[in-house]
Amino acid sequence: METEQLIEDLVGGLQPVRRLRPPGLRASLWLAAVAVLIGLALLRFADWAGVEERMAVPRIALECAAAGLTGITAVLAAFMVCVPGHSRRWAALPLPAFALWLAVSGLGCLHNGWSLHGPGGFIGDSSHCFVFIVAVSVPLSIGLFAVLRRARPIAPLPVAALGTLGVAALADFSLEFFHPFDVTVIDLALHLAGIGVVMAAGIALRRRVLAAG
């Protein structure tokens, strides 16, 4: 097909479009909406006496903050890389917070003697953590992709990876408010597995959920 013909077709089919708002603003609005939802759920369901006791330990409070920060920065980065022309370095934004979360969680494992066993046996209650992260991430991912696909990302892979990392980290942050025991090796592994499953699913479905917007 001739380029000339293509230009004529594109010009002939031109319709006015509604300009996308700046990605930083879109990310902030999405995060604010999710903060309200998570906040309401935590107010209703979290065990606040237990939360207060655990958050009094600086390491656990830092672990929780790092998870939340990973979620926020990854979602922001997903919105930024979604739009052409923004630096690809945005994709690295969540890495420091994620590394901090891993390091502090690893410190927790060390503090607990690198025991492979959590409460209730080898896997025990940690399986609930995996289910919680996946279950909370699914609706959050649907909500996030519904907004991200408006930009029709030209490179869906980093958008899907960052978006799912963001929602899984936010799910992990929420989980900290229901987590009745300190981190163990198997518990951390199941948290990471939950995040990995969510990211793998998002990456696998990226073309269907992002490209058709």
Binding site: M1, T3, I7, G13, L14, P16, V17, V83, P84
Partner: protein
């Protein structure tokens, strides 16, 4: 671009023509094959059209356009690599295909382009458009979907139905 976002066709046409040399030079940095370069240019134009709502007039235009052009160039080069893994050239083959199946008498019966054009006019509009975009203008499914407004699935179905209908029309014409 701001005017194009608001639906100004003249400004849009001017913009598309103005960006071609820039896109072509970016594409040439990645690939020397002229037909691949042209495909990169066309894919970039299509993508510019598809994501034109993402351009923010408060930001510079060139990085926005360059990101699209580079992405499309990478996609085409990757596609080429994938295809070349499974395809071999047929240049050394000296066989001729004498079987009846290889010599489609129905097609031979229709000699002129004019005759094919006449047959195309007898197809429903959407089927005709599918054939024109995909077969005559050699657009990819994505390009044809973008230009025609039909979904990829609808284009596939319409192209299939159109070929079936054309075959039937040719058979009718081929009969003495």
């Amino acid at each position: 671009m701001r005017a194009a976002q608001e639906g100004d066709r003249a400004a849009y046409e001017q913009l598309l023509r103005a960006i071609i040399p820039f896109v072509r030079s970016l594409s040439r940095r990645r690939c020397r094959n002229p037909s691949d370069v042209e495909e990169m240019v066309q894919d970039t134009l299509l993508t510019v059209h598809r994501v034109r709502h993402t351009y923010d007039p408060a930001r510079p235009f060139s990085p926005w356009l360059a990101a699209i052009a580079q992405r499309r160039a990478i996609d085409i080069l990757r596609r080429r690599q994938r295809v070349s893994k499974y395809e071999t050239t047929d240049a050394d083959r000296v066989e001729t295909f004498s079987g009846a199946a290889a010599n489609n008498d129905d097609v031979e019966a229709v000699h002129s382009a004019e005759e094919i054009a006449n047959l195309l006019q007898r197809l429903p509009a959407r089927q005709r458009e599918a054939i024109e975009r995909l077969k005559l203008q050699e657009m990819s499914l994505a390009q044809a979907a973008q230009v025609s407004g039909q979904s990829v699935g609808a284009l596939k179905v319409n192209a299939h139905r159109a070929l079936k209908a054309l075959r039937a029309l040719m058979q009718v014409r081929g009969k003495p």
